[in-house]
Symmetry: C2
Subunit: 434 residues, 2 copies
C-alpha cells in the first residue's frame, strides 16, 4: 500500500506562502503583560520601533527577498486573536494568579490588528519601521524578528537536497540533546524557553521546547512563547522589557524626571502585577547606577533579571545590594537571560548554588544553534544579533545604555545626555555573538 494522501500532496504543491507567523499568540508573553499596562496607563503614547541588525557583516537585504518579506509581514497583519486564543488568555492561571488579564483589556484585544510597516532597502540592509500608537507598534517586535530570522534560515537552506536537510536536522537534534543531557546534571535547575525572536524556525522552536520538556521534566518551567505554552501545555513565562523604562525616560521633561523614570515605571508595574511578575530589569541605564539610587521598596520585589552584565559579576552585584538592604538573597530570585548556553548556565548555576534562587531564560542558543550542523561549512545558519527596539516616543528619541556598551541604542546626542544623567557603564564592552 503506497500511503500518499493525494489531497495533502496537492495542498502542499499549491502553497503560495508557508506563513512563518500564523497566530498573534506566537509572541513573547511579556509583550501581553506590558501591553495591558500600556493600554491602561499610556494609551495615547506614540512609539516607533526600528529594526537594527547589529551583525552588519550579514547583508540581510541581499539574503532575503524583499517581496517575500512583505508577503509575510502582510500575512501577519491579517491575523486576529482567535476565539480559542481569547478563551485561553481569559481563563488561564499565570504564576498561580487567576485571570491576570482584565475584561476591559481582553475586549480591546479582540479587535487588535498589527499596524502598517515601513520597509526599504538601504546599503544591503533592511530599514524596517513601525510607527503609530505604542499599544500597536510594540506588538510587531517579536513577529518581525521571527519572520526575518526564519526567512534567513530558509534562504540558507534553499538549495539543500532532501538528504542534506535530513542530516542537518539530525545533527541539530543530536547537538541540542547533548546540551539537555548536560543540564540534567543540575538537580534544581529552573529553565524556560526564551527563544522566539531569534529562532531558526517555528517548527524547530517547538521541537526544542519538546526536547526540554522530555529531558528536564519539571525543571522546564515554561516557554515565553504564548502559542507554544498553550499548545504544549506549559506555563507562559515573562515579565517586562526595556521598552517600558525607555519610553518613560523619553517622555521625561527634565533630567530629574529622567533620573526617576526607571523607578516610576516599576511603580506602575506594581499597580498591575504581583508575586513572580515583580522582577526588576535593572540594566536599561546601567545596573550600578540603577542600584545606587534604587528606592527601598524595590528590595521587597521577588527578583532581578540581569540582562547585559556578565552573569556572575552582575548577579554578585545584585546580591550585595540585597544584603545591604537587609534582604536574604536565598529568598530572592535571579533570572539569567542574556545569551546563555548550556555551559554558561552550568557555570552560573554552580557559582550561585545555595546562595540565591535562580532561573534561566534560554534564547538564541536554544532555538537557533545550527553551528557545525550543515554538510559543508557555511555561515548562513549562524544566529545574528538582530533586534527591534523602540526608537522614539511621542517624537523624542528613546535610549538604552545597557551594562554592555555594545548593546547601547539611540541617537548619539541622546546617549551622551543619558550618560551624563546616569553615569558611564560599569562593565566592559563584550562582543555580541547573538
Amino acid at each position: 500500500m503506497i500511503a500518499t494522501d493525494i489531497a495533502t500532496r496537492v495542498w502542499n504543491h499549491t502553497f503560495k506562502l508557508d506563513p512563518i507567523v500564523r497566530s498573534l499568540l506566537d509572541t513573547d508573553f511579556y509583550k501581553l503583560l506590558m501591553l495591558q499596562m500600556i493600554h491602561g496607563l499610556h494609551p495615547d503614547v506614540a512609539a516607533s520601533f526600528a529594526l537594527n541588525n547589529r551583525s552588519r557583516h550579514v547583508r540581510l537585504a541581499e539574503v532575503i527577498d524583499e517581496g517575500e518579506l512583505r508577503e509575510h509581514l502582510d500575512h501577519t497583519r491579517s491575523l486576529a486573536f482567535t476565539k480559542r486564543e481569547m478563551i485561553w488568555l481569559a481563563g488561564n492561571t499565570f504564576y498561580g494568579t487567576r485571570q491576570i488579564f482584565r475584561p476591559k483589556f481582553l475586549e480591546w484585544l479582540e479587535d487588535f490588528r498589527l499596524p502598517e510597516y515601513e520597509l526599504r532597502r538601504v546599503d544591503g540592509q533592511f530599514e524596517l519601521y513601525f510607527h503609530g500608537p505604542w499599544t500597536h507598534t510594540m506588538m510587531w517586535e517579536i513577529p518581525a524578528l521571527a519572520i526575518i530570522n526564519e526567512l534567513r534560515s530558509r534562504a540558507a537552506m534553499k538549495n539543500f537536497k532532501r538528504f542534506e536537510l535530513d542530516v542537518l536536522y539530525a545533527r541539530a537534534k543530536a547537538k541540542m540533546w547533548q546540551k539537555v543531557e548536560r543540564l540534567q546534571a543540575l538537580p534544581d535547575l529552573r529553565i524556560s524557553d526564551f527563544g522566539t525572536r531569534r529562532r531558526h524556525s517555528f517548527l524547530w522552536q517547538r521541537w526544542c521546547v519538546e526536547a526540554l520538556k522530555e529531558g528536564l521534566g519539571d525543571r522546564l518551567i515554561g516557554s515565553s512563547n504564548v502559542l507554544l505554552a498553550m499548545e504544549t501545555d506549559l506555563e507562559a513565562i515573562g515579565t517586562n522589557a526595556h521598552e517600558l523604562p525607555m519610553v518613560l525616560a523619553a517622555l521625561a521633561d527634565s533630567d530629574a524626571e529622567l533620573r526617576r523614570a526607571p523607578y516610576d515605571v516599576l511603580k506602575q508595574w506594581q499597580s498591575y502585577y504581583g508575586g513572580n511578575l515583580l522582577i526588576v530589569l535593572p540594566d536599561t541605564y546601567g545596573t550600578s547606577a540603577f542600584l545606587k539610587k534604587a528606592p527601598a521598596w524595590l528590595a521587597e520585589w521577588t527578583g532581578f533579571r540581569p540582562d547585559s552584565a556578565p552573569p556572575i559579576e552582575g548577579g554578585e552585584e545584585i546580591i550585595a545590594w540585597w544584603k545591604k538592604m537587609g534582604e536574604d538573597p536565598r529568598e530572592k530570585l535571579l533570572v539569567f537571560s542574556d545569551g546563555m548556553d548550556s555551559d554558561t548556565i552550568e557555570r552560573t548555576y554552580r557559582h550561585f548554588e545555595g546562595r540565591v534562587r535562580m532561573s534561566f531564560g534560554w534564547g538564541t542558543n536554544l532555538t537557533n544553534d545550527f553551528r557545525g550542523t550543515a554538510p559543508e561549512p557555511m555561515s548562513g545558519l549562524d544566529p545574528i544579533s538582530l533586534v527591534c527596539k523602540v526608537a522614539s516616543a511621542n517624537g523624542r528619541p528613546a535610549v538604552k545604555l545597557s551594562d554592555n556598551p555594545a548593546k547601547a541604542s539611540g541617537e548619539p546626542a541622546a546617549i551622551d545626555r543619558y550618560r551624563r544623567v546616569f553615569g558611564e557603564a560599569a562593565y566592559a564592552e563584550r562582543a555580541l555573538a547573538v
Copy 2:
C-alpha cells in the same frame, strides 16, 4: 488543514505483523551467485545450517519472543520471487557482464520457496536449524540473521517514547554522517554496503546506503543487498563465501581430497564466473596454509578477500604471495570486509595506497552502530556476533578454521582433524566485537 490520511492510519493500526523480510531479494548477492553454481554442480547435496550466537552473554531467547520469531520466519517462507524481481535478475548487468544468471537457473528460481526450520529454546538461547537440500537451506542464512537482529532492536526500543526514538535516530544519523565525512577524505575509496545480516533494521540499512550514496557518490560502488541495489539503482556486490569450501571439504573422502577442496571449489567457480567475480576467499582453513599450496592459476585471479586476518597483516601476506608469483599487486584487488569501521578503513587505505587496488565491504559498523545513541546507557542496541553457518553436508560435519581462532566453527574432533591437515592458525585470536 489537518493532514491525516485516514486509510493509512487504519491500515497501520490493524497491522498484525510488520514483516522484517518482505522479499527474497532482501539477501546478499553472493547467495544468488553461489546458488546458481550449487544448483548446477551440487543439486543433490544436503546441507544443514545452524544459528550460532557467539555473543553468549546476550540471552537471545529471553529478549525475543519465540512466537514473534516464528511469525517472521513463517512469513518469509511464504515469499516467492516476484515477476519484476525475476525480470531484474534476468536483465541486469553485473560487473559489466550481461545476463549472468542462466535461463535454466532462473526458471528453477521462479518456484523457489524457503524450506522448513527447526526452532527451540535451550538455556536462554535459540537453537535454529535448517535441514534439507543445500540449494534451499543456504538461502535461509541472511533472512534468518536479519530477522533475529531486527527483532532484538525492536525489543530494545519497545518502551521508548516517541521523543526518545526521535533523538536516537537523530544521533545515529549524526554518528553515521560523521563517518561518511571522514571517508570523504579518501579520494580513491571504493566501498560497498555489506551490512544486511547484522543490520539494525531494514529501513535503517536503506538510510545508511542512501547516506553513502549521497556523501561518497561514485566511491560507493554498490550494496550486497539485492533488493536495495534494485531499489536504489546501485550495483549488487558480492562473490562467494566460506560455505563453498566448507561443504566441499566436508564431502572429501580422504585427507588428500580434503587438502585439495579449497582449490577445487575455486576451479568450479571459475567455470561459472569471470572478471570481478574471480575473488579468492583464502581464510577458510587459514590464509597461510592456503597460499603455501595454492596453484599458479590462482595468481591470475582478480583479487583476494582476506576476511579474518588483521587487515594490514593479511593484506601484506597476500601482496607478498602475488610478488612471489610474479604478479604486480597494483593490478590486483584486495577486498576488506571483516568488522571494518571508518577508522580501520582509513588506516588500511592509507597503508596500502598506491600499492594495490582496494575495495571495502562495510557491514555491521555501517548498518548497526547505535552505540551511545540511546537516551540512557543500554546494551540492547549494541551489535552482537551472530552467525548462521553450514554445520554439515550429507551428514558429515562442516568445519571452518579461519585466521582468527575465535571464528573457528565445527565439532571439536573435526576441527582437530582439519588442523592436522591444514596446520595451526598463523594469526593470534582477536575478540569478536561484531
